[in-house]
Amino acid sequence: MLKFTFSMIAVLLSTAFITTYAQQSKPATHPGTAKGIVRDTAQNYVLKSATVSIYKAADSTLLSYQVTNNYGEFNFRNLPVDQLLKLEISHVGYMTGRKNFIIPSAKNNTIDLQTIIVDRSDVTLDDVVISVPPISVNGDTLEFNAAAFKLDTNATVEDMLRAIPNVTLWGDGQITVNGAEVKSLKVNGKSFFGGDAKIALQNISKNALQKVQVYNTAKNESNPLDSTLEMNLKLKKGKDIGFFGKIGIGYGTNNRFESDASINMFTPKMELALVGAINNINKTPNNINSLMSNSTFKGVGTNVEYQPDFRASGLNRPSAAGASLTYNFIENPTYQKKSTLKANYFLQDRNSDNISETRTTTTVNSTDQIFEKSDNTNLSSNTNQRFDSNYEFSKRGQNLTLSQSININQGDSEEQTNRIAGNLENALTSTNNSLNTSNFKNLNFNLRGDYRYSPYIITHNMRFRGFSATYALSGYNNESQRLNLTEFRSFTNAGANRDFNRKYDTKNDGINQELNLTLPGLKSLIFGDKRLAGINFDLTNKLIVKSDKNDNRVQDLDTLTNTYRVNTYLNNQVQTDVIEETPGLRIEKSFYKSLSNRFYQNLTLRFHPKQILVAQNNESDRSFQDIKRSYKRFAPDGGVSYSDNQYGEYSRYYDLNYYTTIQMPGIQQLAPLTDSTNLYYLQRGNINLREEVNQEMSFSFSHYDQASKNSLNYNFRISAGLIKDNIVDSLLINDQNRRTVFLVNADGHKYLNFNGGIRKAYKFKSSEIQLSLSGNVNANKNPGYTNNVFTFSSNLNTNSNANINYTYKSYLAVVLGQSYSTYQSKQEAFNTEYSGKNLGTSLSTSYNITKQFTLNSNVSFNKSASSGAKDINFTIWNASAVYRFLKGNNAEIKFSALDLLRQNNSAINYGNSNSFTIGTQNVLTQYFMTTISYYPRQFGKKAATPR
């Protein structure tokens, strides 16, 4: 299999090599050079930043374009010689200048067109422009004009962006323009169906687009470098009303089916989306946006398609439906003036069958290990409903956001587990069979209001410089009924045998309120315009008031009378009230260093001392649970940020942060009621538990190249923490694998996380290669007790990914991905070690044979190895053929073959502090399916039919 992987890499690399070679050989075929200067002779100007485009005269294909430099000059290379070419010059306020020419091979393959004269147009209305340049500079906005890109009539905006040399569409959805990341995408100045760029780019027809605008939005006027790149798709006049979507239905072998619909309508003020889906192939849509983003039209280019999740455990039959509405009360909202309402409703129903078989090996002490074999069948169904809405209002420095959500989740499940425990000699020690049936209904709601005020204009003598407040209210009401039947048999001690038949009726409800207040600019409020060494003070306060009620009604079957009797021990009601108050003072000082046109550096020091005060009160039917506790702790935050912008070279950002958080033990940790039915896991509390204190330090670094072409960007983040009084398990395991867990405080928990990434793109004339590398490492040392022996368990997990994306024109897309992850766990006291690794290689290709016919293939090779078990290797190969038809490519028929090699067995392989588990579970296996889809789409009103 490895051989296969390598041969695939070889194929890919050779393709890349051919393209590169083709690039280098280009000058030999197109050696022509043409230069000139653009001038307005009437006013005696040279035209700076005018667009010069060169077309083949025969078929008007665009060969190249440039923007004139500061001297009004252009200079093209790599043009074809000895054939008629057409040059067009465009500039705002000028008539299009045209000139036909031939680059003679006889004259050194060079032509000097000298001065080309353009004339002013008397009418400067945009609509009168006859021919538009592909790219133009309008003030500080870069504009790509749709009309200048000759693409297929069914092309989408995405296809057009791929044709622009300065724009890169990354495999993970990120868009960069000249190497800088586009942070948000808008359509006509507004967020489009939730803001997912893919929905706009893969649906909006290129023909509905007037231009793509790219500009910097300075968020913070006091720091001009704190700016973000935004892309706006400006639609043609009248195209700001329309609809698009997809209706699809498919049926296949083994009664596999799928069906989905997504209809999206928009007007200048309103957006409405209706979605629905039902299938039995593990395509689980969790929200409206994921359904919308997987139902996009996708134009004519190549795209590696969305795959069903073969790695998901079990077989799922999800169905979902939803609606989403956005209404802008102000048609053209701005940062300063906005009034927008959004509302969503989503209903999801899911039936799943999970069957698994596992074997877990656990280290009990330095010499003994025990194992457990477990068969588990879980049938469940649940229905989830969510309604949420959000209203945003902005006006002259005031900003108000109100949001609300309600979730209702109800369902039932039946779970059967058979477990056998044994020792290393494979001698059985005990068995435990249990059956759980349950049903539940959970309801929760959230309400949140944010208000922010910062004056529109700040002057020196202004004392009050703003204020912000956040209030959040949340509540829940959960009810469940459960029946548990358990049969425990010991082979070593018959006296330990247990049988249970227990009924639970549980009600939980609670309410949580949080109020955050920030008063910035304390200095100016108290001291007016005194400088106080340039230090800024903000007053912060967080108040949380929380109340939770837990009501348990438990009954056991009395085998003599065959009736259920109240379990007086477990029958209980507990109420916990918590008040948490955190006042704080944020102190900040910034240093700037700059040298005009050379560099700009900024260093900011932050210190935020806070005092956390908590009062916890538990009231219970059981007196031992009547616990009152209070906690007090000084928990400061702090940080240092540094940015270094070297003009024309790079910008770098460094960030160092320190946090303190505390975690209070809850009643279930302090004094739980122990339910004896779970014989393999008995939870005991500890009334003496102290609060956990986590101190974390993090450092992040990012580098942005300012080179305009083939830029290299990288970043990483590292964080390390120390937990004092970590609440950990003290595990007692007996020879029958029965565990009793006590909770204790232990020092010495340390962790370290690292993640980083590098990305680089090479854009050639007709192809593009993107390389991205990312990795993360997680190391930790957990204290704990096993059978009264204190031990540290040291864990190391790593994960690395490399991706190569290659696209050639609109014909071929290839993605090669390689992932490698490892885990390792060591128990110092027992001198044991577990380790394993997972390796995945995937090769996805999409090839457009014609504009209508596409072949897709997706192969992933998976290798899973762990100490103490045989390697698990399997390969999943999915392939499909897609044919688009009808005039607008609106209809699609697709034949797919999934898991062609029939190898999906979905292995289970994981480890934790002192055990590792391997096994298998039921998963989706081979099937074939035929799908028919229709993409209704229209931009702009339909032309009135002539009578």
């Binding site: 500079v137 300075a218 020196h460 040298l595 050379r598």
Partner: protein, 417 residues
């Protein structure tokens, strides 16, 4: 551009008083109305506008490295520069060779005075035939010679004044914010003429109220010296008039009329509906000029610049109006030619130096401007492959320096016609 707009956003926070209108009358008998349509302005070759163009790279050493020229003065042998970035004064020879630096942070501090000793700019003073650089820091005035050596220091107020008002040859001073004390009440004027501590004339009275809740955006220095003895130009907030100040009076010399889309409403300054809402107005009408400035006259040519909310390579914001034939030349469209060694004469429309400051000064014969090495190297790169020859100074500069070197002074001798 925004940064510039904000930096020129002047808000005064003085207390307010009553106004008794006793203003002198502006003489407008010789006023000329100039109609300027920026979109009809023309370009010109550098040699059509200037007789001489000289590039003076300023030597870059570890000690002489500075940001940009915030203030430039010329003595017989030296350029004296104040740099905001390094808060220092740098002295170079006329050839650009580094002479000395007066480091703001190294100025002797008064131990009793905890106040900041920062200084912002300098003035040149002649004492006993010696040219001195005067700096005001803390409670003291420091006087340095042209080698950067401290000549003397004096407590401010002891008969010593900083720079002082612009003085005409007959001793009349121009007071930019004149206060006329009558009993307890004070009258304020945008401009006053004072001789021997007595009022000659006072113009544009205002009440301190006007600064309350309003915004004043200026286009730079309001008074410019254009090298003619006993004559200065003056421009005021939110109007397009160029006034001439002479020892005896203020006269309105030029009234400029721009096309409607570039103009503020005629009552913009007085009408209370705009008070406190000026920034919103400019956001809404970015093409309207909120100020004119940097006015100089040489022969028949009137030089000036305009400020508005727009920014871009094709925005024309500095002009030369020919008073004889009415022709308007756009300074950003002065085309490099052999006289300018095929390099732009200003960085207008490309970088920020000219946009922020206009010409640094005009000494009656030469204009002085500057741009960064980042800009100059970019211009040179665009000239590559065109077989351009540079003079020995620039050739040496391009050979030994880079984009991070010190800025370059450009000395321009305008034509008189």
């Amino acid at each position: 551009m925004l940064k510039f707009a904000l930096s020129s956003f002047v808000i005064c926070t003085l207390s307010f008083g009553q106004v008794l209108a006793q203003a002198s009358k502006v003489d407008s008998s010789e006023m000329r109305t100039l109609r300027v349509d920026p979109s009809a302005s023309r370009g010109a070759a550098a040699s059509q506008v200037f007789d001489e163009i000289k590039f003076i790279p300023l030597e870059t050493t570890k000690e002489s490295l500075f940001g940009s020229i915030s203030q430039l003065h010329i003595t017989d042998d030296n350029y004296v520069i104040w740099d905001y970035d390094t808060k220092s004064i740098l002295i170079f020879t006329k050839e650009g060779k580094y002479v000395a630096k007066i480091n703001g942070s190294k100025i002797e501090k008064d131990p009793a005075d905890k106040e900041n000793q920062d200084f912002y700019g300098f003035t040149l003073k002649k004492e006993n035939n010696q040219q001195l650089i005067q700096v005001s820091a803390g409670k003291y005035f420091f006087y340095f010679d042209l080698n950067g050596k401290l000549a003397r220091k004096a407590k401010s107020g002891d008969g010593e004044v900083y720079g002082g008002n612009r003085k005409f040859s007959d001793g009349t001073e121009v007071d930019r914010s004149y206060m006329d004390k009558i009993d307890k009440d004070s009258n304020y004027y945008d401009l006053g003429l004072v001789k021997d501590k007595k009022k000659v004339a006072a113009y544009f009275p205002f009440s301190m109220d006007r600064y309350k809740g309003d915004q004043f955006y200026s286009g730079g220095e309001s008074i410019t010296d254009y090298g003619v003895k006993d004559e200065l130009f003056f421009v005021n907030f939110y109007e397009y008039n160029i006034y001439k100040i002479t020892p005896s009076k203020l006269s309105l010399t030029y009234r400029i009329i721009f096309p409607a889309n570039n103009s503020l409403p005629s009552d913009f300054k007085e009408n209370p509906i705009y008070k406190g809402k000026r920034r919103e107005y400019f956001d809404k009408f970015p093409k309207a000029y909120y100020a004119i400035g940097s006015a100089y006259q040489f022969g028949n040519n009137l030089y000036f610049k305009v400020s508005n909310w727009t920014w871009g390579a094709n925005e024309r914001k500095a002009f030369i109006y020919n008073l004889k034939n009415g022709m308007v030349t756009s300074i950003s469209d002065i085309e490099p030619d052999s006289l300018s060694q095929f390099l732009p004469v200003t960085d207008a429309g490309i970088h920020y130096d000219f946009a922020n400051k206009g010409f640094h000064l005009f000494d009656g014969q030469y204009f002085y401007t500057s741009y960064s090495s980042l800009a100059l190297f970019n211009f040179k790169e665009q000239n590559e492959g065109k077989d351009r020859k540079y003079d020995p100074a620039l050739t040496a500069y391009f050979k030994t320096q880079n984009k991070k070197s010190n800025p370059v002074i450009i000395q321009l001798k305008p034509k008189k016609n």
